[in-house]
Amino acid sequence: MTSRTKGAARAGQYLALLAYLVFLVFPFLWLLSTSFKPATELGSLHPTWIPEDPTLANYRQAFDEQPLLRAAGNSLVAALSAAVIAVVIATPMAYVMARHRTLLARAATGWVVVSQAFPFVLVIIPLFLVLKNLRLINSLPGLIMVYVVWALPFALWMLVGYVRAVPVELEEAAAVDGAGRLRTLVSVTAPLLAPGIGATALFAFITAWNEFFFALVLLKTPEKQTLPVVLTHFIGAEGVADLGPLAAAAFLATLPSLVVFALIQKRITGGMLAGAVKS
């Protein structure tokens, strides 16, 4: 290959990359732009990228129109509890799945795969009936229970990968030194797993923070609803929306996810989903 064609190929690659980035980023920039526009500007037929008369009024109005703070509080409680509980109960199981090739471990792996394919409606109807009998409809504890179980498959998956990355020889050395199983787990394996457990918890948190379907079905009154459900109230029954406050609220709801994703970004690009497609 001559250096000239090589240069052209490089230029083409950068151009393609730029096209991808424009496609991936422009809707987000538009959301931001819309959130700072006064109502007069949103009513005009010729919208611009940069608001001519930027304002924070939409953000104020968003809080006036819908109980955003309470909704964010509900989301925080639900997502945080679900993430902590899921990781606490998934870690020991993931450990067994990674270290013991038993029937149970195989069955669990199989379930993890199959559970990815459920249409949620087939699970939510019976869950709705059961939670109703337990008087857990329209309650955060009910939603948290659902979120924990829903987070378990990918939590197990990620954690199994992290456990496998810890050399088994380290544990054997501890066992030779006379440490029991639990002792080995707590003093040798757990510290090495800590970053992986943290990433898994953050990922579970974000998934629950973003979740919509279960929250929509299980939470009936505005006082109990989570942020994604409350966001849809900004879109009126006929789909007519107050665009400014809608954009402002939507942007605010994304901030926590963006921050957490920035924190675990290295681990994501490192192949989080690879677990789902590798064994």
Binding site: W30, V113, P119, P126, M145, A175, L231, L246, V277
Partner: protein, 301 residues
């Protein structure tokens, strides 16, 4: 070799220590996931309804017989398949291109990688809201751009009978790009570098190197992620619920939206569960593809 590893390698039954470690996760899974799934399948054979005073009765295949003649359901099923194919295929091709680019030694690659994940971090509801703003007939950037470029006055994309489904498909492609790209990037790490270099030395062009070296190594992961994406897309709900709520005139009513309405608006639990069962039946075929791809991928390593 210690006792623990001997046990691990021989694959004998779980010892008591392991049971103790497994139970905290296993119980919730059985009670809140496996149990409801079986209960849900059973409900499909009953006349369960919300607010019914008389007890629920076993009605055999009646729900399924009704489903057979429910043209609205088959419409939504067809739309679901169209949507799933329409999202999965372009998404795979675009993500493959992006993954190949990101595996090159380009400047600003780190920035591109970070930005490429942004759609993944956003709640689906926000993604839907965001694209409503993009598609907005007056205040949206899409129509304004088209106006600027001289393509007329633009349209009402999400409420037009012909444009609604393509419009939501574009959003679906956008929203799922990061996951697919990340999975393919991970797959590209399996591509043997030496083989690549050897092929280049032999004078193989980029396309030849892709078809003879990259693709064979990537194929198991590509197949698995495509099957999974198809399943996820077929089952998706939030995005289209926010964008069009199934409209206009049911043109974007995915099976999940249909089943949701049937169950939680009209209270037809049994009937909606039967829909779920039909969906599972279709998905099982793809799940089989996915499992086979996974197993073959594991063998080749």
């Amino acid at each position: 070799m210690t006792l623990a590893t001997a046990r691990a390698r021989s694959g004998k039954a779980v010892d008591h220590g392991a049971w103790f470690l497994v139970l905290p996760a296993l119980l919730p899974i059985l009670v809140l996931s496996v149990g409801p799934l079986l209960y849900g399948i059973a409900l499909a054979f009953t006349d369960s309804q919300s607010g019914r005073t008389e007890p629920t009765e076993w009605i055999g295949l009646l729900n399924f017989q009704d489903l057979r003649h429910d043209t609205l359901f088959w419409d939504s099923f067809r739309i679901g398949l169209l949507w799933a194919v329409g999202v999965t295929v372009p998404q795979f091709l675009l993500a493959l291109g992006l993954a190949l680019l990101l595996s090159q030694n380009l400047r600003f690659r780190w920035l591109a990688r970070s930005l490429a994940i942004v759609p993944w971090a956003m709640p689906e509801v926000v993604v839907g809201i965001m694209w409503r703003l993009v598609y907005h007939p007056d205040a949206g950037i899409l129509n304004e751009t088209l106006r600027d470029l001289g393509f007329g006055e633009g349209r009402d994309w999400l409420t037009g009978l012909g444009t609604a489904l393509p419009a939501v498909i574009v959003v679906g492609v956008w929203a799922g790009m990061p996951q697919t790209t990340v999975a393919l990037l991970a797959g590209l790490q399996n591509v043997p570098r030496e083989l690549h270099e050897a092929a280049a030395m032999d004078g193989a062009g980029a396309w030849r190197r892709f078809t003879t070296v990259t693709w064979p190594a990537l194929r198991p992961i590509a197949l698995a992620i495509t099957a999974l994406n198809f399943i996820w897309n077929f089952n998706s709900f939030a995005l289209v619920y926010v964008l069009t709520n199934g409209g206009p005139g049911g043109r974007t009513r995915l099976p999940m939206l249909f089943a949701y309405e049937e169950a939680f608006r009209y209270g037809q639990f049994g009937y909606a569960a039967a829909m779920g069962c039909v969906m599972v039946a279709v998905i099982s075929v793809l799940l089989a593809v996915y499992l086979v791809a996974r197993l073959r991928g594991a063998d080749e390593r």
